[in-house]
Structures are given as structure tokens and as C-alpha cells.
Amino acid sequence: MGELLGLPRQWWEAAQERLFFLPPFPEQADSLALFSLLLVVGLLIGEWLNARFHWPKLIGYVLAGTIFGPSLLGWISIEALAQARPIADAALGLLLLEAGRRLDLRWLASNPAVRRSTAADIVLSFFVIYLFASLAVGMEPAWAAATAAVTMASAPAVVLLTVEESKAQGQVTERVILHTSISSAAAFVLFAMVLGVVHAEYSDDWLNAVVHPLWVVVGAVLIAWGVSRFALLVARRLPKRSLAQVFILVASALFAVGLARMLAVPVFLTLFLMGALLAFRDEHQTLRYTELPEGHWLLAIILFVVIGASLPWHEFTWLTGLQALGLLLARALAKIGALFWSGNDLPSKKRLLVGVGIQPLSATAVFMAYELASLYPEVGRSALLLPLFAAAIMEIAGPALCRLALVKAGETEHGEHGEKTKGGIG
């Protein structure tokens, strides 16, 4: 490369003697430029996979990040990745805000079968993963609990984008969204508790063991409460569904992201709570019908490229890979089993499809794992490789499984091979 650049460098340096404004010869490509190229490649791969194989576009974005990220080709450095993190946070925040707004507790109140299947999904997923991590992998209880908290929930960002991309509508779709939202809420609560457990396990500092989870939960609640109230107050003065209301929704979400980052409170928890509070406290339906702008797809590309690039493939070992597969298998059985045996107000085939549709595991899990790992880097990093690899595998398989479930339920606009669907299965 150095030889290749020799001639241009000579010309450049010769020109510099005459042209005073020229900077020194650029030895390296600008990280922003490279990252932008990475986004374009991600977009192209996503579009190609979608057009050629009818795969969800998200898979393409993750693949681009994985292949060209620091773990494999190294097209983009860890530092450049860190620069893109605020945008990824904003993207994840907006999608979790939407997931929170979809948390429909009235449905739980009116349908006992949905209540049962929700409880079964949460309890079975957590305990099956915990048992697998502690008994089959031999993890210590604190890290086994952390692994279970991080991986038990489905991925709101993946589910919402897959539903939107495939224009799905119907009972399987609605229940996949509901179970994803509620299991995420449960995972966030358990995650906060696990923070305390990890502190208790690795230090004698009981103050932190108690106060840190409180800081996370109370901080997130306070930010979410304050910003949602602010958003509703301002939005009430504007026409419903107007562009101005969309702006208020997005701006207040970004404001909450900023506050959460300032106070070291998890962004995903804050924005999810903010979405839920916006839905619960919106007595006058002020923001109920206001939708996120189409532009959130642009942010989604950045999010999934960053996640793909953040996955620690360079630390891959066959043993961890096999353990991650085992964890995913146990998790899949727990989720499908929970839905199949408890949600008896749907035909059995559709219950099975809901179980398949909630398999994704992604952005929030990866971010939660890194958050935990950063507390005790010397232990946490290796202890959390298992959930990270499980998430890495599901980054590819998750969107495909979710889409498969929606297609098989006949609820998407297009069928398995891209043909227009006529109707659902009975």
C-alpha cells in the first residue's frame, strides 16, 4: 500500500509547496468516511438479500458490520465504532420507545390466556437459561443469572423492524409484539437486580450493591417520567399527528437518551420506560396516533451495522460457540414450550408460530452484556462471552425466524417466495 501511495504522495507534497491550504498527505482514510461506506455496503447487502432470498434486510446490515468491522476485516476501527455509538444509542432508543408504547397492559387484563403465556415465557425462559448456564456450562450463579437476564427477552428492535418491513398484521404479529415488550420489561428489571448480585459477588462494597441497581431503576424512571410529561405537555398544544408532534416525540426521545448517557443510566431501559409512560399517561390520546418518521430506518441501519461490528468474533472458540448454540436451543424450547402449553386461545399452530416469532435476541442484549462487562472487566468480559455469542448467532437467525413465523401465519404482505399472500391460515 505504501508503495502504491508513493507517487501520489510525491505529487501532493510538490503541490503543497505552491498551495498553502493543502493539509499534510492523508495517510489514513477518515473514520467517518469509512463508516459511511460501511453503511452503504450494509444497505446494499440488506437490499440484495431481501430481493434475492426475501431475507429481512437487518441480516444484511449485521453481516456488513461483522465482516468489515474490527473482528474480521478491520475496515473500521474500535475508535470509529465508539464515535458511532451515540447514533446507535439514539436508534435503539427510538425503537425501544416504540416498543414501550406498544406495551398494552389492557390486553393482559382482558385475556387470561395471554397473561398465562406471558408469565410462562418470562419464568421458563429465565430459569431454563439460568439452569443451562450454571449446570451445563458451569457458570457461577451471579453470571448465570446475568446471562439469563440478558438473553431471556426477545429483541424489540428486530421484531418491530421485521413486522414493519413485512407489513404484517394479525394475531401472531400482535402477540409477538406484546410478548417481546413484556419480556423486555421483565428482562430490564432482572438486569437491574443482577447488577446488585454481581456487586455483592465481586466486592464487599454493599453500598454499591444496593445503590447501583437503585440508581439504574430510579434514574431511568425519573428521566422517563419527566421527559414523557414534558413531551405530552408540549404536544398537547399541537395538532394531533402533525409533523410538529413527530418532532416533539423524536426530540424528547433524544433528550432522554442524552440525559441517560449523562447520568450513566441504561439508554434502553430509560427509553422503554418513557414509551410505556407515554402510552399509560396519554389520557387525551395526545401522542397516541403519532408515528415515528420513516427516517428511523436510516438509524436502524446504523444500529445494526454497529451491533454487527461490535460482536466479538475474534474471541470465538468452538467450545463457546457450541455452548451458545446450546443456550439458544434451551431458550427456544422454553419459549416455544411456554407459548404452546399456555396460550390456549389460539390454534396450536399459531401458538407455535408466536413461539418462533419471539426468538430474536439482539441489540439490547448486546448492550446489556457490555454494560455488565464494563463493571468488572477482568471477570465480566469472559463471563459474558456466552450471551454475546448467543446474540451474535441470533443476529443472523433471529430476524429470519421472526419473519418466517409471520409469513407462515399468513400475516405478511408477501409470502415465503415474495408472492402476494391471499389470506391467513385458519
Binding site: D104, R106, S110, E174, L178, Q285, G423
Partner: protein, 376 residues
């Protein structure tokens, strides 16, 4: 494959049956949602109030009462069907709503229900089938003979504008105010066999006319006739098909009372029909009723003048009082008389909600709450 009309099933005179096509809306944003197949797939219901069945698209559901002699029984059936449906919808997190059109849904997003007949309609009519996601009330009136059914079909034709104006509940289409009181019928008018039954003297003339349509390849079965009022041989009824689904079952019941007492009045008095003359003004009068509702001016081809629909309705209610008393449905007619006197029905109510809220989502939300309201 053409079906013969078959024999006319004889019914008890003036028995009633009511079908309502209802909207399935999302509880999140009150747009139409796909849910009919799932709803019926898990419905545990013994049919005690009548039937609940699929309609052409996944966002519609049809309820139909049992054949009943009295209007109050029709009301009880509709209340029972509503209760059953709403409970099932609660389980699936969706809402049911009346109204002739959904104010802001996008027809292209509609999904045709699974089923051979629905698929055939979609293949034959293309996008019209999806645009047919409109919601009507059909009222069946029992007839003792086939000839009586044809005569009643002709006689009721004069009152098509009355049924349209009294039930009008579809002022919005594609998110805009159409200025119509009933915009639903514009979607029906696009079908080639919509409109009025031609002036036919008796059952024999009807059968010959239908055979002509079959021979020319225009109609295969009687279901292809999308007439405003048509005979329904397998039920032994005349079916009034021009009403929008009202926003509540009280109005739906009152419209059934009007159909029953009007049929009794017509069959009792047997006034001259002037069917040929009325055929000339039928389309105009129908447009007037759709566009202006109770404020319409209707052409009278016999008196050669225009008359106010509101005035002629008030006069009609007076004329029907004796028959309504005899049938035990006088009070139900008063529900409609009150609407006429107030001069505004469901369409104006929807406009009022839209104006109050400044958006159509909340108007549908209120309409779905109104559908659940029980009579005081």
C-alpha cells in the same frame, strides 16, 4: 357454472332477519385491522342469537339474527350477537365498530378473506373487491309467495331514499369529508349489477329476466345481483340492502321496524306502483339521499314535482302508525322519527366528533364506544 334460482321458499308473513357488516378496528390507533379469520377460528358460540361469519375482507365481520316475528326479538338477537362479538374481540385486543365506511383506512392494505367465493370475487372484480370494504345493514322481510316477493321488491323501491337517509353513517372516505351523508353506496355502484330491480310484474317475469342474464353470461347466481332491494328465494324474503350499518344497534333495530311496518302497510293497501315511471327517477333520488341525507329533495314522477324527504318521512311515520301498533313496533319507529325531527343522524354525529377532536382516529374511538352503548 350457473345456478338455477330454484323454488321460492315460503316464509311466515312479515318475519324479519337483520344482517350487519361490522368494522374490526385496532385498539391502538383505531384503523381497520385484519382479524376476522382469527376471531372466528377460536370463537366458542352456540348460535343462539344467529350467525357470526366472514365477509369479503379480513377487516370485516358479519352478524345475522335468526328469523324473528317481532322487532323486539331482533333487538335481543343483535344485543346478544354484539355481546358475543365484543367479548371475543377483547380476547384478541381489537374493537368492533358500526358505520358505513371506515373514515381513514387505506383500501389497498385490505386482505381478501380465505375462501373460494371470496377468491372468485377478487379475481372477477379486482381492486373493487378490496374497495368493497364498506359496511351495510341488510333487512330481510318474509313473504308468503314468490309473486308477493316480486311485488314487494317493486313497492319498496320508492322508499330506497328513506332507508339511505335514515341509516346514513359514511361521510368520510380515505380520511376526507366526502360531503355525502352515505358515501358507502358509491363503492357499491361500481359493480355492474348494482342498482334497481327492473320493473317486473311477477315471479315468472323475474325468472325469465334472470335466465336472460345467465344466457348472456352476465350473472351466474342470484348472489351476483347487487340490487338495492332484491328477492332472496332461498330465505323466502325480500332483502333491503341500501342501509349503511348504523353506529348502534338501536337504529339498526328501528330500521327493521320501519321495513316491517312499511311492508305490512304496502301489502295491506296495495297502492298503484308506477314502477316504470319510478325507474326514470330512481338513480337521481338515490344520489340525492346519499348526498344530502334527510335534507334531500326527492323527485316525484307521479306528482311531477320535488318533495322534501324530511317532510315525506314525517308523513310516512304517521301513515305507518296503525301497522306499527299492530306489529308491536311503534316505539321503535319513534326512534327514527326523533332522528328526522332533529334533522341529523349518524353521519352528522361522526362529523361532530371529528370536529371536536380535530382528527378521525378519535372519531372512530368514540364510534366504537357508541356501538357498545346499551339502551337506557
Amino acid at each position: 357454472m350457473s345456478d338455477s334460482i330454484g323454488e321460492f321458499t315460503h316464509s311466515e308473513p312479515l318475519t324479519l332477519g337483520v344482517e350487519l357488516e361490522l368494522q374490526l378496528v385496532s385498539r391502538r390507533d383505531f384503523d381497520l385491522t385484519r382479524g376476522a379469520t382469527d376471531l372466528l377460528g377460536t370463537l366458542a358460540y352456540d348460535g343462539r342469537f344467529g350467525e357470526i361469519k366472514l365477509e369479503i375482507t379480513e377487516s370485516m365481520i358479519e352478524v345475522s339474527t335468526l328469523a324473528r316475528a317481532r322487532v323486539s326479538e331482533i333487538h335481543d338477537d343483535l344485543a346478544g350477537l354484539r355481546e358475543t362479538l365484543v367479548q371475543q374481540c377483547d380476547l384478541n385486543n381489537i374493537k368492533v365498530c358500526g358505520g358505513g365506511t371506515h373514515p381513514f383506512h387505506r383500501w389497498a392494505e385490505r386482505r381478501i378473506c380465505p375462501g373460494e367465493r371470496f377468491d372468485e370475487i377478487y379475481q372477477r372484480y379486482g381492486y373493487l373487491a378490496k374497495q368493497f370494504t364498506v359496511f351495510g345493514q341488510h333487512i330481510h322481510v318474509g313473504c308468503t309467495s314468490a309473486d308477493e316477493a316480486i311485488w314487494l321488491t317493486q313497492a319498496l323501491g320508492k322508499y330506497v331514499p328513506a332507508f339511505i337517509a335514515l341509516s346514513a353513517s359514511s361521510p368520510f372516505v380515505d380520511g376526507v369529508d366526502t360531503f355525502f351523508q352515505s358515501a358507502r353506496l358509491n363503492a357499491v355502484s361500481a359493480f355492474p349489477l348494482s342498482g334497481q330491480c327492473p320493473p317486473l310484474a311477477d315471479w315468472k317475469a323475474f325468472v325469465e329476466y334472470f335466465k336472460l342474464l345467465q344466457a348472456c353470461g352476465i350473472a351466474r347466481s342470484i348472489k351476483d345481483l347487487y340490487w338495492d332491494i332484491r328477492p332472496k328465494p332461498e330465505f323466502g324474503t325480500v332483502e333491503i340492502r341500501v342501509c349503511d350499518t348504523p353506529l348502534g344497534i338501536e337504529t339498526a333495530t328501528a330500521l327493521a321496524a320501519l321495513a316491517q311496518s312499511l311492508s305490512r302497510y304496502l301489502l295491506r293497501t296495495r297502492l298503484p306502483l308506477h314502477a316504470e315511471r319510478r325507474a326514470h327517477v330512481a338513480r337521481y333520488n338515490k344520489f340525492q339521499a346519499c348526498r344530502y341525507g334527510l335534507a334531500a329533495m326527492i323527485s316525484d314522477p307521479v306528482g311531477l314535482c320535488q318533495v322534501s324527504l324530511r317532510d315525506s318521512l314525517l308523513a310516512l311515520f304517521e301513515a305507518l302508525a296503525e301497522d306499527a301498533e299492530a306489529l308491536g313496533c311503534f316505539d321503535w319507529l319513534q326512534v327514527l322519527a326523533a332522528v328526522v325531527q332533529a334533522g341529523s343522524g349518524d353521519a352528522e354525529w361522526l362529523r361532530g366528533q371529528a370536529k371536536t377532536h380535530g382528527n378521525l382516529h378519535d372519531a372512530v374511538r368514540d364510534a366504537s364506544a357508541r356501538f357498545m352503548e346499551k339502551a337506557a
